[in-house]
Subunit: 297 residues, 2 copies
């Protein structure tokens, strides 16, 4: 990552966008709209649902909101804040409405497939992933300050215009994010490990406890479950569509993670089967020592 | 469980203990001492560490604290608030100091092995497990109100004296707990599922992400990990001695849980391998629907 950062430092100062378009006004798009207006930008919002126009306007998610793609025509930076399925199969009207001179970026949580589609579609596309998120969604979800102190990962490749990258970089910094660049593949493997794998691991736990065959044990388990169980199963009880999208678009990285996970679990299970308590304790000491790394930021 | 509850309702009114002894003044013992004194009981505390006597006294964990077992001689209810290893291999001095007429109960998180040892050692032993807990331990950990609205599980069997059970029951109710009775085996299977299995599942996740072989992916994963990963790995990064004790004393129940877990995870993995997104979505819809059951209490 070091080399890429240096390259960015040498890039010319980015042009400041005079108008920013946001496509999709859900949690991420709406939050971007609120913050970007606070920063003094002119923001135009596109929503594909006509009945959301008035609500998005009332909430002040953009100075101007429309369900007509023409709203984007004078924007020089356009942020695609769409769900992955729509981002990967964009409708033709949207594609045609994007000015060739504008910088286009996205907020999708998986980057390989996005670059594959969008590098073909637009000469100034920058793959991005602001890591902020809550469980809320829809036009009511956007909130101020969502990106503050959160990572914003960009995944430039050989097709990426350095000035376009710089423009997105400066915007992310102004929003309070920590800017990171890496390859799409490294990004997708990393999010598989810290975001997608936990969903599957946690879902399987819910399944095996919630569908325990012995009714008496199952009912007691439900009564006794406390914060430890609640925490471990939170992400496994989340939005099924999101979990399915993760697996659909990041299949090989998740399978790689699951395979590594199975062998970690097998080590623990083997120690228990062998009643090798010294080995089990060593394993649990390792995991105890690993966890603080993930919290110090 | 219904039949057992009826039997308890028919039991005679329990004698109120005139003096309660607490063996071990860590989180559970210390918290019991504070609450029982608030309820008006005379409480005597035994600690095996002479240097803890003054600290426990200063914190007011009992009216009288000693490291001499003789302190228990006039108690008619004695609560063994010891770690599992000490509870299962009690020292001879302690055994001798327990009055034969007193009711003895414990707070151990696994009940089968405890009943096996203690039904032999004392005629009025009642197996119990108040589910309260924080991550704190030691003489500084005890706090007021720890048991309020938490389950207190008792595991009576054929050896259990109904009057002794009633005495523990009334005490638990006075402490604000929800009283439950079940068999030791059902209890141990249920806690394996909601408490011990999550530790192993979560530890394996920490291991496979924290020791990812590709350094670039691993370092990015550390930077990008957010609250979802933190929650899913909390119990796996906990006290290794506790995790090892769980497995040591509840081996078969944990192995049964792990085996069921493996097959749940396999279902998910198979759906992903087959790219059967309909099946995966159905699985995740099931787990989403299961989770609220564990939170409604």
């Amino acid at each position: 990552m070091g080399r890429k950062l240096e390259k960015e430092h040498m890039a010319p100062i980015a042009k400041t966008p005079s108008c920013i378009g946001i496509v999709g006004l859900g949690l991420i798009g709406g939050s971007l709209g609120l913050d970007l207006q606070s920063l003094g930008y002119q923001v135009k919002g596109l929503t594909n649902r006509p009945h959301n126009v008035s609500r998005a306007t009332a909430r002040g998610l953009a100075q101007e909101v429309s369900s007509d793609q023409q709203i984007l025509q004078n924007c020089d930076l356009i942020i695609l804040a769409l769900p992955l399925n729509k981002l990967l199969k964009p409708n033709q009207k949207l594609i045609k409405a994007l000015p060739k001179s504008a910088v286009i970026t996205d907020v999708g949580s998986i980057k390989g497939p996005v670059l594959k589609v969008w590098n073909e579609l637009h000469p100034k596309f920058v793959g991005g992933h602001p890591m902020a998120g809550t469980s809320a969604n829809g036009v009511e979800a956007g909130e101020k300050g969502l990106f503050k102190n959160q990572p914003w990962v960009a995944t430039p490749d050989l097709h990426t215009d350095p000035q376009a990258l710089k423009m997105v970089n400066e915007l992310a910094i102004q929003l309070g994010s920590s800017w990171l660049t890496t390859t799409a593949d490294t990004h997708d493997q990393a999010v598989a490990l810290i975001s997608h794998l936990p969903v599957m691991v946690s879902a399987a736990l819910l399944r095996s406890v919630g569908e325990e065959a012995n009714q008496e044990i199952r009912e007691l388990a439900v009564k006794l479950a406390s914060s430890g169980f609640a925490d471990t199963t939170r992400v496994g009880g989340g939005n099924p569509d999101l979990g399915t999208a993760m697996a659909t678009f990041n299949t090989s990285a998740i399978l790689r993670g699951l395979s590594s996970y199975r062998s970690s679990l097998e080590k623990i299970e083997t120690a228990i089967i062998k009643e090798d308590w010294y080995e089990l304790q060593k394993e649990l000491q390792r995991t105890q020592a690993l966890r603080p790394n993930f919290l110090n930021h």
